[in-house]
Amino acid sequence: MNGLEINDLAVDFGSFKLNVTLNVPRGCVTGLVGRNGAGKSTLIKAIMRQEEASGNILYGGIPFFGNETEVLRKIACVFDSPHFSSAIKPKRLLKIMKGMYPAFDEERYHGLMQKFGLPEEKAVRTFSTGMKRKFGLILALCQRPDILLLDEPTSGVDPYDRGVVIDLIQEFMLDEGHTVLFSTHITEDLDRIADYLVFLQDGKILLAEEKEKLCESYRLVQVPELSEEMRGEAVGVQKSMFGYTFLTKQREVSGENMLVKTPTVEEIFVHLLGEERK
């Protein structure tokens, strides 16, 4: 079963159009990548019904309309900027959350706040970026959702806190009924914990595939000279003073002075989504 089934979801901003059909598998972590302005945040907002969109989405098999309360209890999201006033103190916010989510896990909330040293009596605006991200994630997790959407949960966060965030996501994934969809520019996180990858380009899905299958379907090649024959099979050729780097789907590539390896998510990103540098 899929955590999310997105059918022909369309958002129209005039100059920018998002059109997405996508299945987000349950029990897995799906990474959403794309360049700035590709539509990642818009897609997440549309899934959360924060953006006017046409099309249809099933949340764990359930449509939104007619099941609004149930769906909104199943799904939690951490947006890239807090969706509450930053003048508010966590203590006050907790009361609001408890009112909105009867299943809110208060015990875990206090436990996590203490564990990460977040003060409950200080306004959220006094928090550092890392603290805000952790706080947002704690609020989302304590709603006891089945589906967790995260818009760049690790951006602007120091390496240690990034580890903490990743750890919280993976702890959530210990339950095989849970689903995570997160957007990020930190491809290293994807190399490690993502099961599936979705590449978004200009509001459309460029590709959606299992991470390892995707990385293994390509070879990253570095050569001093690019022959015509090679150019035919090369994707995203980038030239430097010392030679050419490109992706290819060919399985058997070899030759003199040629370095061939399995690409990382970062390398696939750069060569598939970047412009050719000649």
Binding site: Q170, M173, L174, E176, R192, I193, D195, E212
Partner: protein, 162 residues
Amino acid sequence: MNDIFTEEKFRKSFPNPLTEYCIYCIITVETVGSNMHIQLNLQAGPLYEQIEYQIRAQIFSGELNAGEALPSIRVLAKELTIGVITAKRAYDDLIAEGFLYAVQGKGVFVSEKREDDLVNGKTERLKEQLRSAKRFAAECGVSPEQFGKIVQEIMEEKDERS
């Protein structure tokens, strides 16, 4: 899939553990531990292969014993900070090779050692060493033919001890 009794689940089932159910607490902690140890290097090839290789090596060396329970796929993924599918692939491959076996609803266990596996395991380690030699050869600009010749030469060398 095997689901371990996590602290969180434990708390849900026994809301007041310290006074009434402390015995359960001790048991839970002990069942979670594992003898397995794994180190991963993101730059050193597919992660599932690294896991497979290390589990195999620990079975051969006797650090992991037949019948021993291994962590569930999801715990393995969390502890190693890797994807669930990567963890599953490592276990699936080792199950297919016969090093591990899965019991529905109970988890993954180490299989009985077999003699031919021991031979295979040593071959595997030899291959690993030859692969690093191959990488070094490529760095030095030694062609595959030359590399083959060098291996041949080594095989023909007289054993120093004899």
